[in-house]
């Protein structure tokens, strides 16, 4: 029994020393060969994507603004903004100056003695010099002004050598109902003094004189302390200056003012020469294209807008159409045929309006099929086109005329045989070489609720762009079948059209792609019921496709995957 016990203990001790060295190699990951032998057949969904048509357009051309139009479907917009000068620059109130001389004889003849003081009062009118120098049809007639700021500066110079006092009062310049009034006192030793007053928050009524506009009355009172002696001859020289106007608002008649006179060019990037787009072999027609001038006018003044130039460059014919080739009689061309602009009726608000150039007043619908790459315009806007002085209006400190000039191409029409080409750089040699695939099939399933169909081809090419293979064997295979539309361009049936495409690749084909350097993509699309003169379709925001990509693959892994 003792021997048995010894043997047992010996065995335990022995295993404690021997066994770890036997087993640890099995867990030594540095010994991992990386050789894997394995087979399996999988059919798996790789990816899916809901792609809206408008998203594709946005990616293809980032300059397009896609919006729902008035009829609910999508339109492509290319636009340019023009804007008038700020109102303070346009209607600038310059410095106003007035001066008056009062002699001893004036004071003695019309003044009043009270004790030893001789007082003289006179009421004068400061004529408000205008202002908007661009006025062509007479001065503006200002009824009133509300000032954010301004400065009144007046001076007195006396040659009497006596103590004196000057009082100025502006009964029509008020603040909180109180007229502006101020005075200067001179000692007998003083001959000159001046005062500067802020006009912040004052309003000026320029209608209190018989003329009823552009005049400010001022009452001037000069007092001379004569003492007991008769004053020696002398004069008071008085100056009044109002300057640094910053007005909050202004009422009256503002005359003719040129709000804007600008030209700009709108690029129609979709038609620009882009090697990815093949318009040459395509035919298309967009219905109801138009050019719109949308404006926002915060002037409270009647105004007008008109074009002075409109040109378009036609890429298809390499010629430029001028305005006479584009417009019809009702087109707002020149000062003689302007479009009127609505104006704000309440200070601080703005009126919005639109001037439309479409097939009723232009040949724009014939311009678009010629693939214009740009449209150039020159436009002008001015106030008071009728020069009617009886119409009294307002402007405020923020008055401005903003306008957006926009070319709208509604996605309503038909398209035939438009081809999109692209090239993707690929280098799959390192992947293909080790790809443990015996057979592979790519399943492309597209559910389409758009009235647009497409066929596609993908070419694998080498560095010299020599085609090695193509992905889709039948080039006429439609990867996208179009949904049918009715006479109004609407879908007849909202159920999406399902188009499955299966691409089989053998191991040999996969290996032959190892020298591929580029993938050429060619997608040709047409609208439903295509062919030139085909049925017009409308494309709505909710239109799109759902793409499902699946992979059916037989794996035959018999390789070293360690990367060593």
């Amino acid at each position: 029994m003792r021997n048995l016990l010894k043997l047992f203990v010996l065995a335990i001790v022995a295993t404690g020393f021997i066994l770890p060295s036997c087993t640890k190699d099995n867990f030594d990951m540095d010994r991992l060969s990386g050789d894997v032998s394995y087979e399996g057949s999988f059919a798996i969904p790789l990816a899916y994507s809901n792609i809206a048509f408008y998203q594709v357009l946005n990616v293809m051309d980032t300059s397009i603004a896609l919006q729902d139009n008035d009829e609910g479907y999508l339109s492509m917009f290319y636009h340019s903004y023009v804007e008038s000068k700020r109102v303070q620059e346009l209607l600038n109130l310059g410095p106003q100056h007035y001066e008056k001389t009062i002699s001893l004889s004036d004071m003695q003849s019309r003044g009043v003695y009270a004790g030893s003081q001789l007082s003289y009062v006179t009421e004068e009118i400061i004529s408000f010099k205008l202002m908007n120098e661009n006025t062509e049809n007479g001065e503006a007639e200002i009824d009133s002004l509300a000032l954010n700021s301004g400065t009144l500066e007046y001076t007195i110079q006396s040659t009497f050598g006596l103590a004196s006092k000057l009082v100025v009062e502006f009964p029509s310049i008020t603040k909180s109902g109180r007229p502006l009034k101020d005075s200067i006192a001179l000692y007998s030793t003083d001959s000159y003094d001046s005062r500067t007053l802020s006009l912040e928050g004052y309003t000026i009524d320029l209608t209190t004189t018989p003329r009823h506009f552009n005049e400010i009355p001022v009452k001037i009172k000069a007092v001379l302390d004569c003492g007991s002696s008769v004053p020696t001859p002398g004069v008071f020289s008085i100056t009044l200056d109002i300057h640094d106007f910053n007005y909050k608002g202004m009422y009256g008649y503002f005359g003719y003012n040129e709000l804007l006179f600008q030209s700009d060019t709108i690029d129609i990037t979709m038609f620009k020469n882009n090697p990815k787009y093949d318009w040459e072999h395509a035919s298309f027609y967009f219905k109801k294209p138009r050019l719109t001038v949308t404006y926002w006018n915060s002037y409270g003044v009647p105004s007008m807008f008109y074009f002075t130039a409109l040109d378009a460059y036609m890429y298809s014919t390499d010629e430029t159409w001028n305005i006479n080739q584009i417009i019809k009689p009702n087109f707002p061309l020149g000062e003689a045929n302007p479009a009127s602009i609505t104006h704000a009726t309440i200070p601080g608000t703005e009126a919005e309006g639109m001037i439309t150039v479409d097939s009723t007043n232009s040949y724009l619908d014939q311009v678009i099929p010629n693939r214009p790459t740009w449209i150039h315009f020159s436009a002008k806007a001015a106030t008071n086109p009728g020069n009617n002085h009886s119409i009294r209006n307002f402007i405020d400190e923020n008055s401005r005329l903003r306008s957006k000039i926009e070319v709208e191409i509604p996605l309503y029409g038909h398209l035939y045989n438009f081809t999109y080409r692209d090239t993707a750089d690929i280098d799959i040699s390192s992947y293909v070489g080790n790809l443990p695939v015996k057979r592979m099939a790519i399943l492309l399933n597209i559910k389409n609720n758009m009235p647009v169909k497409a066929n596609a081809q993908f070419y694998f090419v080498d560095e010299n762009y020599t085609v090695l293979d193509s992905l889709i064997k039948n080039p006429n295979t439609m990867v996208l079948e179009a949904a049918s539309v009715d006479a109004y361009g609407h879908l007849i049936n909202n159920d999406p059209i399902n188009t499955p495409t299966k691409v089989e690749l053998t191991r040999e084909q996969i290996e032959s792609l190892a020298s591929s350097k580029h993938l050429l993509i060619k997608i040709t699309t047409s609208t439903a019921d295509d062919a030139s003169g085909g049925k017009d379709v409308k494309l709505f925001r909710e239109y799109g496709v759902k793409v499902n990509v699946g992979l059916d693959v037989d794996l035959d892994v018999n390789a070293n995957v360690s990367g060593n």
């Binding site: 048995l4 047992f8 087993t23 059919a43 969904p45 809206a52 499955p500 499902n548 059916d552 990367g563």
Partner: protein
Amino acid sequence: MIMKKNVLIFVSVLLLLPVFLNAQQANTLYYMDRVFQSQTVNISEIPKNRIQVGGLIVPLFGQLPPAFYFNYGNNSFNYNHILHFGEGEKKDSLVLDLPLLMKKAKRNTCIRGEFRIDYFNLSIRTKKNAVITVNLSDRFMYGTTIPKSLFDFALNGNRDYMLEGKSHDISRLSFGATAFHELGIGFTSEIREKFSVGGRMKLLFGMLDMSTKIGSLELSTDPDMYFITASADMQIRKSTSLFDYDGEGFSFEDISTLTNDLAAFGNVGLAFDLGASYKITDKLAVSLSVTDLGFINWLQNSQVASAKGEYTFEGIELGFLPNDEGKLSYGIDTARYNAGHIMDTLVDLFDMDIRDKSYMTMLPSNIFVGATYQLLPKLGFGFLYRGEIYKKTYNQAITLSVNSNITHWLSLHGSWSLINNTALNFGAGLSARLGFITWFIVTDDVVGLIFPQKAKTINMRMGCTLTFGHEKKVSKTATRL
């Protein structure tokens, strides 16, 4: 390096992750009658000594060696069924052998494990052979069941099933990881001559739990679109502060928050061990034991995610997304598919209803049926049948043992077991008493400890107890009464 890392992760997931594994798989221990820890598998066992004290909190002796138990079991494959040395030029290299793994996978691969630390054990036997036992332990249990159908889906692929119009039934898939404190109070009594019964009530305090409850789960592939549809009736449950779902997505806390879980006492459970032993003749005895018959009700930080219905995976979603410049570009919403959001994506995919609610888990329960035959005064033989019930699966094992209390201070035990579908399990046990100190070590598979790469079963229990009032002469081995 990436390849090695990936393989290591793959093997770990299949094998090494369940280091803390399974319900009591202590077949050799069952007949170690001088080790009062055998009461953990048969409560009707009456210890030989009057008083025994053990556990980590016993100064010095409690740590020499520490009283612990671990078990790992896999009924399908071992490490070398996944990675093994190749042939010819590859004889010194490890080869990843997926076909062998597939070949070895059983209808249901059951991976189980447990790690147990005993902080305190006490056994007091009266003169009338009535025994009171107290134990305080922490237990970490893990179990996962992987249907072969899932291996088939992952390794062989789904194409054949798709063409045949069949689905992959993985309803038996399960996962569970549980940790809890256990306070047990047991009583064993010789109620009649040659017949003893025992019972232990165990108050359980759950620390953390992550588990599944799958009624049905099938994967089918649409032959037209290759969509993979899961027909599911399942729950995924958790009770831990480690992560949480707030209705928007998952938030993960630092691993240090696990200390909050370890100190949790709000998840209360109850379990029982029951046993009976009967000595038919002087040489022949039989016993029956049931362990871990109980449950834990999880209340703290508990959430239940439910999915019932059909859920279709169409692939990764691609779409137009605004780039840094605000322009649209086509691609994958990487934020949605990165590792941090993968759980959110799964929740979305299965349209899971996640609620803060309590739930109950059952412990993996064992039934032992044993018989011993005392051939010689110092030599006896034992037979043991063990069955384990855990989440729709029932695992069985048979053990034959030879047991000898060879001297008054030393006993030796050897066993052969059919466990986890392999017959190459040779166990050994030893207990030695030096004065008032009893030291023991036991395993059901010595080979598994030596060659873990070839083992489907790896377990070991050891400990040191203070023993008082031991028997003065050598007892017959394994006759129980």
